[in-house]
Symmetry: C2
């Protein structure tokens, strides 16, 4: 169960295939489009963290030039997926090898043309794409191939690249500059072929192409290899040198090297599920999507919410990373986990500036974080389908839980790694500034003697500007408690580091206030029905059925949040109270969790890919893994099925959903296997009926363990690192 | 300058004429429609405070049956304003006599038909309408008159009356029951005429009619008189007795009696403006609209925001009454002023229930107050023109300044009357509960050491859910200060009343908290440009021009507030900071007021009729009465010109604007004449260039004064009560 494939082609699903067959790593994403496809088919050579803004459009990562563009003509007639009769077609992602292949048999005139191509993004190089292209005919015919670099780029808020320069010859070359910061984006490609027939090249229509004409013989396989390198602010010389080195190694050697690296990744990260092949494939697919996003290649980087699948969500980092993806890296790749934390340490400056811009002290982290913590989120993140005007949304200015999510991640990281050094590398300053921010944002309610947090947005984004969101308030309390815990920890250690930091950051008085307020942070208690209210007044909202609400829609893509249909009802976008219950699971009795699950689940649209996994996790906590199973499968297969929103309002939001992948991973490990660390490493199997056994490895406190969980027996065994 | 008239008829302005020529008093409003008009022409016999709700429609005051309906046929052909050629037409309101007349010369066939009718609502009776109807022909012809009671009622959210019963005969009778509370609404009419020609009657088409056929002679004036009484929960016997008494007095005697009462009203209330006839007419028109609304006839009543002109604004009482109308009654009719205060004392129960329903202590007064302080405001007060869905509005739940406005009114009333007894009659309890509410609603900001009020709506309703609205915060401070002032007052009086009340209402601890917090209520200070920010973050909003904003409208009536066009800009609906500056004028230097006026005025849509007068008043305070003049005229003539919004979203909001009338009165007296009481009775003339002199009477501390203000000389003279 290592391969994901389709054996039909539906032109309405081109966008989806682009996501489904995505390859790459965090420096470059290559969408799973076909060789002959162009900008209109959403070909994307995504360059994460190379952001650009054109006039007032959204700031988004740049797409580079496409070095895989290849068009094919047989006897002068094009063989193209969108125009030519197709006898058969298979597109496949081999997750084990991180390679994409396609095999299409076209009917051109009376000739059957078999086109096979494979591609991979070298795991051992910064931005290198390799591919092999093969043609076989069942009759003699003339084969014309135009292969090169396509500089027509699919952009959402572009075009982002100006001053394009083209060079043809042995090497096909395109280079240009981004608009905002004039980053130089370069693509150099070399085509290697045994074919001795006519070769020429051309530059036109934004493409630099090599033209190959072959007098094709029946049943002979003709092929060529493509070597391409993409540079960001790199000199042509260094790129040429690197490309030549790779060419010198040869296509097959590079492929072996790539596959070897991937084999090792899987050794640590794989989760084996026995008894349920679909679940096995789904969890592997989730892990694949996390593995391609490991931030280890960067000094400073984290994982964007749409990964490397394109420009949506502005290529920005959201809380998705800390809450839904970090757990995977904590188990399998501590260095990447640390990168995720370090990214936020580096972003502290931006978070402080953001807080200040709203008149608050401390650190208010970006909702959509780009370089240095710059918040790319606008105040208008959705377009109204009725008036075609931007809708004022509150993701940026009210979702203050983001700061607490980051502290939660730091706390988890330290608990799992015992790497207290990270506090000295800046993480303590992050915690201090987040605590300072919350102290300043919240207010003391005098007559109730409690600390309240008004005017926020919780995880459920359909309800804007609410007061005392249970999730947010719980995080605030956690931040306050954790800083007091750290104070005591360093006192016990007789280490003056904490005390010095408090003085350095002028936090003395605020710490005293926090000490007195921490017990007074208002936490919502279960009411007489054992329910925790999502925010003040939630239970007074209209209690309508989800189906009813969705039937009220006038326009399929209309925005449901804010002043939309859901805003004044109990219908929520995603797990909120239930997410809190998972994150703070030791606070709640099983009975309470169950009642709240039963109440909130039917009221949840699961309109965010972050939602299902939280419900799945809590299902396992309450001993109902069969409730969890469909939610797990939904999360794990979201990018395989493409069953997710591609538009909200009139805004395109498609792409991959690594947080759903991370959530699926969490469900398998923390839900089905019931892994926990509170009292040492423990498992508490909650296997759905279809699953017999789950096997995986984890890292904990610097050691590696092999874990096997089945219905009858579980083992936890330390193994060699 | 006592008469308002039109001498043309524009069928598109029928709704406006209905308001323009309104007569009545607070128990019954008779819209200024013509005799032959029906429901479709918005005939309205408005019955204030008789509220009714039909299914989920808005709860609104009921319209009664129309006893003035009269149709006219000449030689069998109808003479009707909408269908018949008209030679001339004059409709007139005589404000001195509170009577409406119309004279129309119809051309029917070759005959000129002169129809003259007059009507008045007897000032000496509870609900009595009298009218005289006269016909003259310039050729002999048959005159047919159908006059009676029309039970087809114009309703917005009706029909409100069921089980209608009709009786014909000497007396024409219609009676029915309201839906919600089964109030009995009755109308009995008698037609008195010298004409000895054929009389008959009929009941059909929801009308009970008397038919008069006259063999009309050239140049003879035929007339009849109409006597009608409307009952609300009154027995037929008592109504008949009353009606017969009135008939016995005779039409002309009743008219004299009515005019005499009105003469006396004007003696006290009139404002004489010399040098500017338009301003004279306009201020009289404003005063007329306040005089017809005096609540003296009720045990418990105040003045609805659309007066007695119809069902809009749900017939409810808003802050308009306390802030914009009370000043007129404080000067001219102390008993009515007291009724206004007593209405809110009676409404305290409703206000406490409202606070409790939102989880707050104390008294949160109704935004749209009906009986016993019931808040008729819904959470959806506007219909979106794009989706045709209700828009969630925040008038009801966030406009907390209403409670402070009421305390402001109580304070003003006591300052002007020295009637401290009202505190013992319930006003102190109101103040305590409002202070308790504010203490509970606001929060203490710990690091800034200040008391903040988040999540409110100020007078400017386009900006929803703002924090630290300057106006609201200032009112909160006033409430806290005033209760501390009253405590000290009673200590000085050696009167234990206050102390006992504090104990009775369990207010001891809260009073101590208020004492410590009163100096800490966050009041916005002028910034480096001398500007006071309307609320946190207002200056960061888009700074667009009003004209630009209005040009962005896709639909003429689209709602601009909330998520509408104005919500994220600095364009405001109405005076907010400027209203605060007027109410707390002694807090601010002239320079500060002027800079703020200059900043905010161009950013103000004046989309509420409450807006212009506040800008006019502050213009006078800064010595610029010529700025004030056009705003004064706009307020004073709003119901004469009809230049006000008739729709917001898809919701009809037309009717009269007594708060604008009150604001115009305030501008004349407190602005142009510069009347003040801070250091005894003083005037500070700020006369616009067109006005030479203003003369008026006021009551102060139980005495009556005659005041004359001119550019060179002013006099204040005590006169006999």
């Amino acid at each position: 169960m290592w391969k994901v494939s389709v054996n039909t082609f539906d032109p309405n699903r081109i966008t989806h295939y682009g996501n489904q067959f995505l390859i790459g790593h965090l420096k470059i994403g290559v969408r799973g489009t076909l060789d002959e496809f162009e900008a209109e088919q959403k070909v994307g050579i995504n360059l994460p963290f190379v952001y650009d803004q054109v006039s007032s459009g959204w700031r988004e990562p740049v797409n580079g030039f496409n070095p895989l563009f290849t068009s094919l003509l047989i006897n002068g007639e094009e063989a193209h997926m969108l125009h030519t009769p197709v006898i058969s077609h298979v597109q496949e992602l081999d997750m084990k090898k991180a390679m994409m292949t396609r095999t299409t048999i076209f009917q051109v005139q009376d000739i059957q043309v078999t086109l096979t191509s494979e591609r991979f993004v070298s795991a051992n190089d910064e931005r290198v794409i390799l591919g092999r292209y093969q043609i076989t005919l069942n009759k003699n015919a003339t084969i014309q191939i135009h292969t090169g670099v396509d500089a027509q780029i699919w952009d959402i808020y572009g075009p982002h690249i100006k001053d394009k320069k083209f060079k043809s010859g042995d090497y096909l070359y395109v280079s240009g500059l981004t608009i905002e910061n004039e980053h130089q984006i370069t693509c150099i490609k070399k085509v290697m072929t045994d074919v001795n027939d006519t070769l020429s090249d051309s530059i036109k229509d934004d493409k630099v192409l090599k033209h190959i004409i072959i007098h094709g013989q029946k049943d002979v396989c003709y092929h060529f290899d493509q070597y391409a390198i993409i540079g960001v602010d790199q000199s042509d010389e260094s790129l040429m040198m690197k490309l030549n080195e790779i060419i010198h190694r040869g296509y097959e050697n590079k492929r072996l090297e790539h596959q070897h690296i991937w084999e090792n990744k899987w050794k640590m990260a794989d989760v084996v599920i026995e008894g349920d092949e679909q679940a096995q494939l789904a969890i592997r697919y989730s892990i694949y999507h996390l593995l391609i996003l490991s931030p280890h290649m960067y000094d400073v980087a984290s994982i964007p919410a749409r990964g490397i699948s394109g420009q949506t969500y502005k290529g920005a980092i959201f809380w998705d990373t800390e809450i839904f993806m970090l757990p995977f890296f904590l188990n399998s790749d501590t260095k990447s986990a640390k990168k995720i934390i370090q990214y936020r340490i580096n972003a502290l400056k931006g978070a402080k500036e953001k807080a200040e811009s709203y008149g608050f002290k401390g650190a208010f982290y970006a909702w959509e974080s780009q370089e240095d913590g710059y918040d790319a989120c606008t105040d208008y993140n959705v377009i109204d389908v009725f008036s075609n005007r931007p809708i004022r949304t509150y993701f940026k200015d009210k979702q203050i839980h983001i700061s607490g999510d980051i502290v939660y991640a730091i706390k988890s990281y330290i608990e799992r790694t015992h790497d207290f050094e990270i506090l000295k590398e800046g993480a303590l300053e992050v915690i201090i500034e987040v605590a300072r921010f919350y102290l300043d944002y919240g207010k003391y309610h005098i007559t109730k003697d409690q600390f309240e947090i008004w005017d926020v947005m919780g995880p459920d984004e359909y309800h804007e500007r609410v007061h005392n969101n249970a999730f947010t308030n719980r995080l605030v309390k956690m931040v306050f408690d954790y800083i007091l815990y750290l104070r005591d920890y360093y006192i016990n250690q007789k280490d003056s580091f904490f005390e010095q930091a408090v003085t350095r950051y002028n936090f003395d008085k605020e710490l005293l206030l926090i000490e007195s307020l921490a017990p007074k942070v208002y936490l919502k208690k279960p009411n007489s029905n054992h329910l925790i209210e999502q925010f003040d007044g939630y239970f007074q909202l209209k209690n309508v059925e989800l189906k009813y609400l969705l039937n009220q829609r006038i326009h399929q893509n209309e925005y449901l949040g804010g002043s939309g249909l859901a805003g004044d009802t109990q219908i929520i976008k995603q797990a909120d109270v239930i997410a809190m219950m998972y994150l703070f699971r030791s606070d709640y009795q099983i009975k309470i969790m169950e009642e709240n699950w039963q109440y909130y689940e039917p009221r949840t649209e699961h309109g965010s890919s972050l939602s299902s996994s939280m419900y799945a996790l809590v299902s396992c906590l309450i001993g109902k893994p069969n409730y969890a199973y469909p939610l797990f499968m939904k999360s794990a297969t979201i990018d395989m099925t493409g069953l997710s929103k591609e538009y909200t309002g009139n805004t395109y939001i498609g792409g991959t959903h690594p947080a759903a992948s991370g959530g699926a991973y969490m469900t398998a490990i923390y839900g089905f296997a019931g892994l926990s660390f509170e009292k040492g490493i423990q498992v508490n199997p909650q296997l759905p009926s279809s699953i017999n056994q789950i096997k995986f490895h984890i890292l904990h406190h610097g050691k590696k363990y092999k874990i096997s969980v089945s219905k009858n027996q579980s083992t936890i065994e330390e193994v060699q690192l």
